[in-house]
């Protein structure tokens, strides 16, 4: 069980991020989480948004390179040590986390941790057997119509 994240390659140039956000806004696609990983020359924006595949097409038309990647979304209680429990469970199973970021869900008062791991299937097993609940795509964003 995993959710889809849209990654967008961004040149370090004034206005690129704004243009990207505007393009998604004009297409009526809402963003629920956004982080930018940056280097001195470029960045990668990682976005949890409605209809990620449609969003990719919208952005490509605007000249952006986008790719949809699968990530894990884990529900964590919004209390001290919540994330540490998750990471320790993965660590104990020898699963390496490439990156992660968190956002709060207004409706449940819990946090959602987005994790990128290499072996998604195994990470799902480990997290489930450790008693964590994984978040469905439809709980955080509107998935693409199939």
């Amino acid at each position: 069980m995993s959710i889809e994240q849209l990654s967008v390659f961004l040149q370090n140039e004034p206005g690129r991020l704004a243009r990207m956000c505007r393009a998604l806004g004009e297409a009526g696609l809402n963003m629920h989480a956004l982080v930018v990983a940056d280097t001195s020359e470029y960045g990668v924006a990682r976005i949890i948004c409605d209809r990620p595949h449609s969003a990719k097409v919208v952005l490509e038309r605007e000249g952006f390179a986008g790719s949809v990647t699968r990530v894990l979304a884990v529900e964590v209680p919004d209390s001290p040590g919540g994330l540490a429990d998750v990471l320790e469970a993965l660590d104990a199973a020898g699963i390496n986390v490439e990156y992660l970021y968190c956002f709060l869900r207004a409706d449940t008062e819990s946090a959602v941790d987005i994790l990128r791991v290499e072996d998604i299937e195994r990470a799902v097993e480990v997290l489930k057997s450790s008693g964590f609940s994984l978040v469905h795509a439809s709980q955080v964003y509107a998935p693409d119509a199939v």
Partner: protein, 433 residues
Amino acid sequence: MFQPELETMSRGALEQLQLARLRTQLARVYVNVPLYRRKFDEAGFRPEQLETLDDLRKVPFTVKDDLRSAYPFGMFAVPLRDIVRVHSSSGTTGQISVVGYTKGDVERWSDLMARTLACAGATADDVVQVAYGYGLFTGGLGAHYGAERLGAMTIPVSGGNTARQVQILKDFGVTVLACTPSYALLIAETAASMGIDVRDLPVKIGVFGAEPWSEAMREQIEETMGLRAIDIYGLSEVMGPGVAAECVHRNGLHVFEDHFIIEIVDPVTFEPVPDGERGEVVFTTLTKEGIPVIRYRTRDISRIVTGECECGRTFRRMERVTGRTDDMLIIRGVNVYPMQIEQVLMGIPGVAPHYQVVLTKRGSMDDVEVQVEVSPDVAFDEIRELESLQRRVAGEIAGKLAVNVKVKLVEPRAIQRSEGKAKRVVDLRNEGV
């Protein structure tokens, strides 16, 4: 074949024809073009001394600067009233040079371009979209006259307005697209952004030329456009497109030797090199009236492809031009052709074929930045993957070219597309940058 009796003549007959035409040509230029008379006199050569084709080696070379300094009409071999058309070189490297055509020249050029298109597999049943620029550039009108001569339905779109090119390609049922290879890629890209897959269209032959392009770029074009890409060759100083062309077997370009003599010379000593060895291509026009050129050094690098061709044409073939002596960049003392960089990039998945080389100076050192577009097909979610892509590009360029470069990844379509000849190199070394 458009002119089978000429295109398949025996080598013996061809050489006789060449010799007879060459004699006439040399005599004409000696009488009518002061520059040739001066050059021949200085070299102690008189046209009547020509007894065999090999004697051509005694004749001095003609270079680009000769044409430039004769600007505009100083090298024409006929009175201006006999000229019916002029074209010029693009002038990207300096003063333009002007070439003139008599009525007979335009006739022969049309035949040679019809040959070229037939060589590529086109017939009178085809619909030819000419997306080479019309105007002073020889590409547009050259291809146009050839397509008409062949009897094909000819669409004179010229270059530019790419969305309209795509629309016409689709709506007119175009079967042959004639343009520069870099423009073909732009047309394919534009089509994709309009939701049109060129592979679904009837277009089946691409007649591409006017700039050097690699075999890898050919594959890329064929894959994205679903057509057979044919390389054609020519230059305005010699005539324009239609000097040499690939046939469907694509094993070198047949030089239309009944009208042009090809020589390959060492770019440093200017001595002829044996068949099969690379060197600078030199052309002598045998039938041009307006502005004949004698042993014109093209600055293009190629070689003779030996052996016979399955198509039955007896004309010798030249290898696809892989670079120009004046495109050659000297970077920290190493000779580099942009084509070599293109070949490296084409071999690496994850980068698009569009690139630009930016040269600057840091202190006394040349600084090279190769900008490449991240291909939309690659998953680049992780920074380290992008970094390893960058390292791979830099590593392979360093390995193949022996030059260390900085690689900059840029967004798709960040590099300016060309509607004519692609601008691959931005040299800012003399601009204090």
